[in-house]
Subunit: 337 residues, 2 copies
DNA sequence: TATGCATATGTAACCGGTTACATAAAGGAG
DNA sequence: CTCCTTTATGTAACCGGTTACATATGCATA
């Protein structure tokens, strides 16, 4: 069943049927009604793939994230969903699991799909392959929007948060609480937010004349397991830190996992400030101090930006950046007794 | 740039290029190398849409869930992702937000997309429109797999958990802990798991000769807000319950939100058992007793089932059901002092 | 009455792949 | 040497839409 079949039924040409379906061009109202009736009767749904091929646009938006199981990213996607649906876009989802090869593989697939646009949280800020592909996309007229993670030396548009300033404030809160031995579990050293948060950490210590100690700066990967191990190592140092800054929500969880196992209480035995909230902990009033932002909104903004680029076809990326607001919410875990 | 351009470059026909790309039919090795070289040089990526149109299959799998921001569903999707990627399927994601109209809208879109298959957690077990569409899909050779929520009187395949038995065990734990005044905040009364969990609740009370009290059975909608309000109402009853069974993870969170605000401690002032774990609470050893299962695995199984149906083309749904194992994990919140 | 524009519809090429069918050369069997 | 099979490649129709262009009619304006 295709538009030609419908056309035959009604006794018109396929062009007319197409016009009716798309509400384009001129169609006599009488004809229109007949066509609509035939479509209704045949329970006909036009083939979106044929349409895509013809108009060279899939009405699909690719979304590439590093970990949907992370509530931050699932919230981001949730924020994108509504807007996309309103504008009749499909979301094609890819989860890289923080793996670069998989990201490349997906970008390759995406290229074949002739997506209308792409929103991506790249694994690394340094990945030439990814960057080249993204620039290629833009050159072909497929707009790209970065979300949460920027790429070094790129002028791609995106929606971010001011990581360095936010981390600075978080660390500052620890300092104000009297800490001098403050450790950080970083993100991967190839991730822009990871690096910027580290930058904020260093700046805060430096501004407050606190000496940087190499052994207090330990590398994480934004995942629970590694953060757990790093915490263990930190606390087994001859001169352990009294406070830990966790570079993202999973890192916080890893820290908490270890502390919990050791029956160490945050805000008493040890202090912690984490980047990004953890919703269920807020609900039970678990006193974890975090740097918060509205992830859903960030997703929404990213989708809005993409759709804007989609409608103003000429608008290539020009390093346009939107920063979503953040807030340091102190709940007591920054203190020690 | 298309395969004909490549063909021209090499001096062969487009059919040969197609054969090289798909590794189908006969191609002399020498020719193959030349074609591959030309593809490489031109940085050519074949148009997947044209391919889809031609072979009448999009290599995309639609996934319709009621709420990605819920960690249960984001885990489900996470479990699907890997398998789908291995098999070169794209995931087209739809989030209905528990709204039936939106589900219908998506199913309509999905129909036009000529998806290879569909995995859905339907909003309601009673929705004729959805069921009809799903059956239509199967009749057209587009296999459907239900995940987590079954549909009444349907013989669609799916991956579920034994909701009634699991809820029974959860409530039984409360009874064993000495409770007689046990309330339940149900799911929507149009959701199969919601109803089955209620069934399990009733069966447990009945088996232990505990009278059902209407005012202890309050209707929720699997969302935090309503559960919060219901909890408030329950605890303001003249004769309030001493224990609450929460029908899903969001419901548990709603209950906890109210209890926390009122400074009521679970496992002491009031007892609670919830359906579905909440990962971050486990990490901090928050003593919430829950009925647990591996959501990621459930997603994986659903995708595996779909892919199986995809390869055995003849296999229409026949009410095949996979049940993932569950476990009642008691952490103390089922007790009262 | 002639001219021009808005309305209405059809024809056919095109989007970029796949593949049935045709053709032909090479190698092996008898 | 003939016949059959395997290998190799090309031709062209097809998937199901969209749309530029052609054609035709009605009506208003000059």
């Amino acid at each position: 069943m295709n538009i030609r079949d419908i056309a035959k039924k009604v006794g018109v040409s396929s062009a007319t049927v197409s016009r009716v379906i798309n509400q384009s061009g001129y169609v006599k109202d009488e004809t229109k009604q007949k066509v609509l009736a035939a479509i209704e009767e045949a329970d006909f749904v036009p083939n979106a793939i044929a349409r895509s091929l013809s108009i060279r646009d899939s009405s699909s938006i690719g979304v590439i994230v590093p970990d949907i199981a992370n509530e931050f990213f699932s919230s981001i996607i949730s924020g994108m969903g509504e807007l996309a649906a309103n504008k009749q876009y499909n979301i094609v989802l890819f989860d890289t699991g923080e793996m670069q090869e998989r990201e490349h593989q997906y970008l390759q697939m995406a290229e074949g799909q002739r997506l209308s646009g792409l929103i991506i949280t790249p694994v690394s800020e340094l990945d030439r392959v990814t960057l080249d592909k993204l620039i290629q996309f833009e050159n072909k007229g497929i707009p790209v929007v970065l979300v949460d993670r920027n790429i070094k030396n790129s002028s791609l548009d995106g929606v971010f948060v001011e990581n360095d300033a936010a981390a600075y404030k978080g660390v500052e809160a620890l300092i104000h609480a009297g800490h001098r031995k403050i450790a950080i579990i970083t993100g991967p050293n190839t991730s822009m937010p990871g690096k910027d948060r580290l930058k904020g950490y260093k700046a805060a210590l430096s501004d407050y004349k606190i000496e940087l100690k190499e052994e207090y700066i330990v590398s994480g990967d934004f995942k629970i397991i590694k953060a757990y191990e790093r915490t263990k190592e930190l606390l087994q140092l001859p001169d352990p830190p009294t406070a830990i800054f966790a570079s993202n929500n999973q890192t916080s969880l890893g820290v908490l996992k270890y502390l919990t196992e050791q029956r160490l209480k945050i805000g008493r035995d040890i202090s912690i400030v984490g980047f990004d909230q953890i919703e269920s902990l807020k609900i039970i009033d678990y006193r974890l101090s975090t740097i918060e932002r509205d992830a859903k909104r960030q997703g929404y903004e990213a989708m809005a930006m993409l759709i804007d680029k989609l409608s103003n076809k000429e608008s290539k990326s020009s390093g346009r950046k939107i920063f979503v607001p953040y807030q340091v919410v102190l709940r007591g875990s920054e203190l020690t007794k």
